[in-house]
């Protein structure tokens, strides 16, 4: 055995050991708190998970929240596809300048913190907002929205429409990321061949024989993911439909009273049964997404995006109009927050108000005039949590991805799939469930841990690591092994082989994963809302929520909340723009 073989053997042992450790650590981080939480809730309520699930329907409020969640998530999925599909189509099927820039801008909502999105839509629909100024009053539901309510006996249609639009806005990039890349690289010969056959001589035939089989799975996959994210949406539901509860918001609202022996056993029972039912629904949705993603691995030949675009010619006027409306839809909530942060209401007596524009709210937010912590302190907390999350999530996710890839290469496909699915599982546990799991789990294990400053990092790791795995695994699969083989033939050491044959190709995806981890951690709301119980640890997203919850007779409350939300938006937007620079051309997005 030569030196290289011995070195390689030990290097492989070390790799296996590190890989197995990472997978075990992630499994413990992800599932131990939930295991302890279930144990705690079973102890408090005296019933098993199965019994709790069977008693779910006994409480009418549970059924109301289940119905509302299913309805809003389904409507959101349909609306997102209806809005996103024409945009993806026109974005993909023409030759035009600035396509990358527009594509990146349309993807911004997905990384926008949910609390910022909620503030954006509140600013959009509130008095003085863009929608209100064009006569669509979704907030107070006057005008034709009120007529809809009166005619159909539908309670609060304006709030419901606002929620659906906000979910469509938030998930628009999913449709674009899933549908646009295959359309943009689709070989036009397939379309041409079909148009020359009787089976493709009409639009309906082409739809049936080409487009539905080709992009149908991608559209369904995007719809299922939108359903998943809308199902677990918390900040948007909390602020846009305050009259209705989803399963997620009902758990969050009852979370404070749960898990305490002899106190509000009903709250513990609601959390136990609701979380179990929600977990089941999310698991089924995830299984559906996995199946659809497998079908989505299109076997139709792809060609260079530039060649395909050139063949199809310039963007039509309908296309230009569609993209323009898509951009307006994307930018309107973000611009609205910004404007609302400068707009301050002043009373002129007799219940009349006027508005002035100034930087006062930004100054007040930065100095913390209205809150226990200032925006600058909250920013420090947010950045600290985000950096610690990054330092753990990125290496953890990287090693898990590398383990999956190594298992696939060594024909351990089943084990690779198990690790892959395990790394996805935290996505089936919503942010509020994660927060409650950690809260109740710690209560069961050691309540003194509540004073540990870095406690909120735990849910952030759980929620961001799956995204790192989703970005890094395809990037590792895409590396041509010939580079590593060439490095070996040049007699380089295993570390140098890894450095030149793999690491150099993973730099871009790693930067994308790191930027998105930072952005997601900075904007995380659901779990932090449950866990951050002392004001001094408030993050920017929690501060926005706290400010907005204050009575609005003080004219500075809303602008200060909007200014704080704007700071968070600028921060995540900057990270996103940075990440986009490193995203490979024609990439579906990894997320």
């Amino acid at each position: 055995m030569n030196n290289f073989s011995i070195e390689k053997k030990y290097f492989n042992y070390l790799k296996c050991l590190i890989g197995a450790s990472a997978v075990i650590i992630f499994a413990i981080i992800s599932f131990a708190p939930l295991f302890f939480a279930i144990e705690r809730l079973q102890l408090v309520t005296g019933v098993s998970v199965i019994s709790a699930m069977s008693s779910f329907a006994d409480r009418p409020a549970n059924m109301d929240s289940l119905t509302f969640t299913l309805v809003e998530a389904s409507f959101s999925a349909v609306a997102t596809v209806l809005i996103g599909l024409p945009i993806a189509w026109h974005l993909a099927r023409s030759e035009w300048k600035h396509v990358r820039l527009v594509r990146a801008l349309l993807a911004v909502p997905f990384v926008t913190p949910s609390i910022v999105a909620a503030m954006g839509f509140l600013a959009l629909i509130s008095q003085g907002g863009i929608l209100w100024s064009i006569g669509i009053d979704l907030r107070l539901e006057s005008g034709f929205i009120g007529t809809i309510s009166d005619t159909f006996g539908w309670q609060h249609p304006g709030h419901f429409i606002a929620l659906i639009l906000a979910h469509a806005w938030f998930n628009l990039s999913l449709v674009i990321r899933f549908v646009e890349p295959p359309l943009a690289t689709f070989d036009p010969r397939w379309e041409e061949q079909l148009s020359l056959l009787p089976g493709g001589n009409s639009r309906i035939n082409r739809l049936r024989n080409l487009w539905i089989p080709f992009i149908g799975p991608a559209v369904l996959c995007a719809a299922a993911m939108t359903f998943l994210f809308s199902f677990t949406s918390f900040a948007l539901v909390k602020w846009l439909t305050p009259f209705s509860e989803t399963m997620e918001s009902s758990m969050a609202n009852m979370g404070g009273a749960a898990g305490i022996m002899g106190y509000r056993v009903d709250a513990s029972l609601v959390i136990l049964s609701t979380s179990a039912i929600q977990f089941l629904i999310l698991m089924l949705t995830l299984i559906l997404i996995t199946l659809l993603q497998r079908r989505n691995n299109s076997r139709v030949s792809m060609i260079s995006e530039n060649v395909a675009r050139h063949n199809r010619g310039k963007l039509s006027n309908v296309g230009k109009g569609t993209i323009f409306l898509g951009m307006v839809f994307t930018l309107a909530p973000m611009i609205s927050i910004f404007i609302a942060s400068f707009r301050i209401r002043s009373s002129i007596g007799s219940g009349q108000f006027t508005e002035r524009y100034s930087f006062d709210a930004w100054v007040a937010a930065w100095q913390g005039d209205l809150s226990y912590v200032s925006a600058s302190e909250a920013l420090t907390n947010s950045v600290t949590y985000a950096i610690v999350t990054l330092l753990i999530s990125l290496p953890l996710g990287w090693i898990i991805s590398s383990t999956i890839h190594s298992l696939e290469k060594s024909n351990n496909v089943k084990l690779a799939k198990i690790v892959d699915v395990m790394s996805m599982l935290p996505l089936a546990i919503s942010a509020v469930m994660v927060g409650l799991g950690i809260l109740l789990g710690i209560l069961r294990y050691n309540s003194s841990l509540f004073s540990f400053f870095l406690l909120p990092v735990l849910p952030h790791i759980m929620l961001t690591t799956p995204f790192v795995v989703r970005i890094m695994t395809p990037a590792m699969r895409a590396i041509d092994p010939v580079f590593e083989q060439q490095a070996r033939l040049l007699n380089l050491s295993p570390i140098k082989c890894w450095w030149h044959g793999r690491l150099s190709f993973l730099r871009g995806p790693a930067i994308v994963a790191a930027s998105l981890t930072l952005a997601f951690s900075l904007g995380e709301f659901g779990a932090s809302w449950i866990l951050v119980r002392t004001g001094s640890w408030d993050t920017l997203s929690i501060l926005v929520d706290q400010l907005m919850s204050r009575p609005k007779f003080d004219p500075m409350v809303q602008p200060v909340a909007m200014a704080t939300a704007s700071m968070l938006m600028i921060l995540t937007f900057t990270l996103f723009v940075f990440a986009e620079r490193f995203r490979p051309k024609g990439d579906g997005g990894g997320i």
């Binding site: 041409e192 089976g199 493709g200 001589n201 024989n209 080409l210 080709f214 139709v300």
Partner: protein, 223 residues
């Protein structure tokens, strides 16, 4: 539309094509009789594929004219609009274009004007597949076919759509010499049997001789 008075199926007059101000070919003239198989021999990159795309209506005609006689005996003049008519012209691409979400039978059914009910499709497809020596392939996945088999399925699909004129864009170029000869002969037999006119472009002189009634040299057709 003018009424066709002679036996011509295709007439090309003073045809030219430019891409990005670069002339690909100009002053092309060609006339083709009904039922005739013509092989057009020319070097790679001379514009043979572009010509076929123009005849089929996939590419616009800016200068000159192309007249194709349709199924009613009327003359269709290709203008500058993209005018694809599946009843009139069939095209087989250089690389087989078979839809991977359908099996062999499903792909063949795309060529039928009135496809039979689902349960009968396999049986009908088998009848056609037998003509090209592919019996038993109707349930096969597209990915399991070799290049020659895939191109035979494309040929069957194009023939059952009963075009007046079939255009063949070097469809056998990726095959080995032996397979190429065999499939060229089979194709000629099938075309003659069905009475379909065909314009076959290639850069292989032997293949041109094997498949056609008449071989034309590209340089002699253009100005």
């Amino acid at each position: 539309m003018e009424q066709n008075i002679d036996d011509t199926i295709l007439k090309i007059e003073n045809l030219a094509k430019c891409f990005a101000q670069k002339t690909i070919f100009s002053a092309m003239n060609l006339e083709m009789k009904n039922g005739e198989i013509i092989a057009l021999l020319g070097p790679s990159g001379c514009g043979k594929s572009t010509l076929l795309r123009m005849i089929s209506g996939l590419e616009t005609v800016e200068e000159g004219s192309i007249s194709v006689i349709n199924s009613d005996g009327n003359k269709i003049i290709r203008g500058d609009e993209n005018n694809v008519d599946a009843k009139l012209v069939g095209l087989i691409f250089q690389k087989p274009v078979l839809f991977p979400h359908l099996n062999v039978a499903g792909n063949i059914m795309l060529g039928m004007k009135n496809p039979p009910a689902k349960k009968l499709q396999k049986e009908v497809a088998e009848k056609y597949l037998d003509d090209v020596g592919l019996s038993g392939f109707s349930n096969s996945s597209i990915e399991t076919l070799s290049g020659g088999e895939a191109q035979r399925v494309c040929l069957i699909r194009a023939l059952i759509s009963e075009p007046k004129l079939l255009l063949l864009d070097e469809p056998f170029s990726a095959l080995d010499i032996k397979s190429r000869r065999k499939i060229a002969q089979e194709t000629k037999q099938l075309l003659k049997l069905k009475g379909i006119s065909a314009l076959h472009v290639t850069h292989d002189a032997e293949e041109a001789e094997l498949i056609s009634d008449r071989v034309l040299i590209w340089q002699e057709l253009v100005g």
